[in-house]
């Protein structure tokens, strides 16, 4: 029961964070704040991933064998207490991708500020549209 409440609490926190971050990406006017909201969303999703791979036992251990010359006992202790490594690996990949996208967006934001002289998304939109008609 306690663990169930804990799980509920963690998911609730993460999803509310994610929802607020999505709102931030959509509704914030500052282009830098949009990027920050995107990174928050990435992080919330990554935390969900880590949590999916968690193991509800008293002492879960990182998925690393504690020695390179294991015997049967160490091996069976390892497979019975290690958390799921796959979501962690997926998260590492996703983190790198997130870093790449954020880096590109940051460069783009600097360029945008340089060319438009403002960081307001609506203002930039207005300037672009105004140039067209």
């Amino acid at each position: 029961m306690l663990s169930w409440i804990l799980v509920l609490y963690v998911y609730l926190t993460l999803f509310v964070t994610g929802g607020i971050a999505v709102y931030g990406v959509v509704a914030k006017r500052n282009i830098v704040k949009k990027i920050i909201a995107l990174t928050i969303f990435n992080d919330a999703v990554n935390t969900v991933a880590i949590f999916i791979g968690y193991r509800l036992i008293p002492r879960p251990l990182p998925p690393i064998m504690p020695t390179i010359h294991p015997n049967r006992q160490i091996y069976s202790a390892f497979i019975s207490s290690s958390v799921d490594p796959l979501p962690q690996a997926l998260v590492i990949t996703a983190i790198v991708i997130g870093v790449a996208v954020t880096c590109f967006l940051a460069f783009l934001a600097i360029r945008l500020y340089d060319r438009f002289g403002t960081t307001d998304y609506q203002e930039i939109k207005r300037l672009v549209r105004g140039g067209k008609r």
Partner: protein, 520 residues
Amino acid sequence: MVPAVDPLLGLVVLVLALGGFTTPLISRLSRNRYAVRTYPLIYCAASLAMASLIMEHVWVAGEPVVYLLGGWRPPVGILYIADGLSALLGVVTSLVMLLIMIYSTGYLEGSGREYTYYSLMLLLEAGMLGCIYTGDVFHLFVMLEVTSLSAYALVAYIRDKREALYASYKYAIYGGLATTIYFLAVLFIYGGVGSLTIGDIHLRMAAYMSRYARPVFLCGLVFTILSFTAFLYKAAVFPLHFWLPDAHPEAPSPVSAALSGLVVNIGVYGIVRFAYTIYHGLPDPGLYSLSLMITGGLGCLSSLVGAVLMASYKDVKRIIASSTIMNIGFMMMGYSTGSPLGIAASTLHLMNHSFAKSLAFLSSGVLIKSAGSRVLERLRGLGRALRYAGIPFAISLLSLAGVPLFNVFVSEYLLAASFIHTGKWVFLCFFMASYIISTIVYLRILYEVCLKTPAAPTTHRSGREWIPVAAMLTALSITCIITGILSGYIISKIIMPASQCLYTNTEYLETVKKYLLNIH
């Protein structure tokens, strides 16, 4: 080794990535500016050869060919798998990419940063081929990101243009959101089913459904909603189409051709793959019909919105870009009929649209460059002055307008037939309405650009530069006409097997099952 294991599947992506990695180095090592232009072409040609060989292997084997990366069997490692549809899309993608790259050598001005263009184009192709051939949901995410990031960057290629920067930002920020949502979907399916391979997900869902019908359904529901959000964004379907009229026209014309002709296909491919391979044939048909419903409903709206947007713009590239929204809507409608005929028609339309749309962008690029503007009035009569671009432009417009003898007509005719056949009268209404609007717009452009007399004398491009441009325009025009004339042959030999294999996913699943590692 099992004969159906085909290393080309993995190699084609890796080779393209290698080309992308080494292009900057070549541009630094060699002072000759032709080196950096011809070097990527080797990789493009190699990828076309490999994609064709893969298609041939699929034909010969009569079943999907697979490649086990790292030697790991499906649920553990990444699986590359090509059935008829993937093989066809792979060939189309690499062929159009090769033509675009050759065109670019003549079209782009020599500047200090051409190497970024070629490098990113190679990565774009690598990402698209990876998306097409992969059989793994998470690898699809990675490849989607490779494609997207290259696309975002290429949209901003003209970095001093304010509109390009704005369009790239808009495309990238919401694109980043969409792909992250897709990652969330992958996590849910892993948490729920415990597997990442597409075929294995179907098998496991089918197995679990007998015991836990409702949880599996809800898990699939979340997966569908989240992953389709990402794919609909990539395919620019109605509520998520807002980036396209900004992003596609602002890029240089070859990039527009690649984005509009090929990259949007990836979104459609993802939706189709998920709907037909994962959900079709489950004990509970709820997920299948739901995904078809989403696809069909949004496809209808999308086609109409695309047509209306086309009529509202004055900018030629914007009009052509908006017509992509409409055509994607047509494809979605065809795929959502759930009948073999509709799938075949949509697949054919996918292919034809790629050829015609890239031709339209490439030829309009020459005209726009010579006029110095994208507004329709300024292009008046240019098609007559610049014949080598004007005639291909006319061909592409006629083709897109659905005039008989050209390729798009055949697929649109088949689409209408499939709507009638399955009794989807709503689809037919939307289809006819958008078809009529779009045809009027196309013919108006044709009249303005290619039939009127030129307003002012234009400057012809001189030198050897235009030879690859003209050659590629001719090649694509011929492709458009030939695929139109030989449609009967193409449909019976290529399209029907591909769509049959997609519709009844048993072959695909059998192949995956053959390699499945039994883990409990």
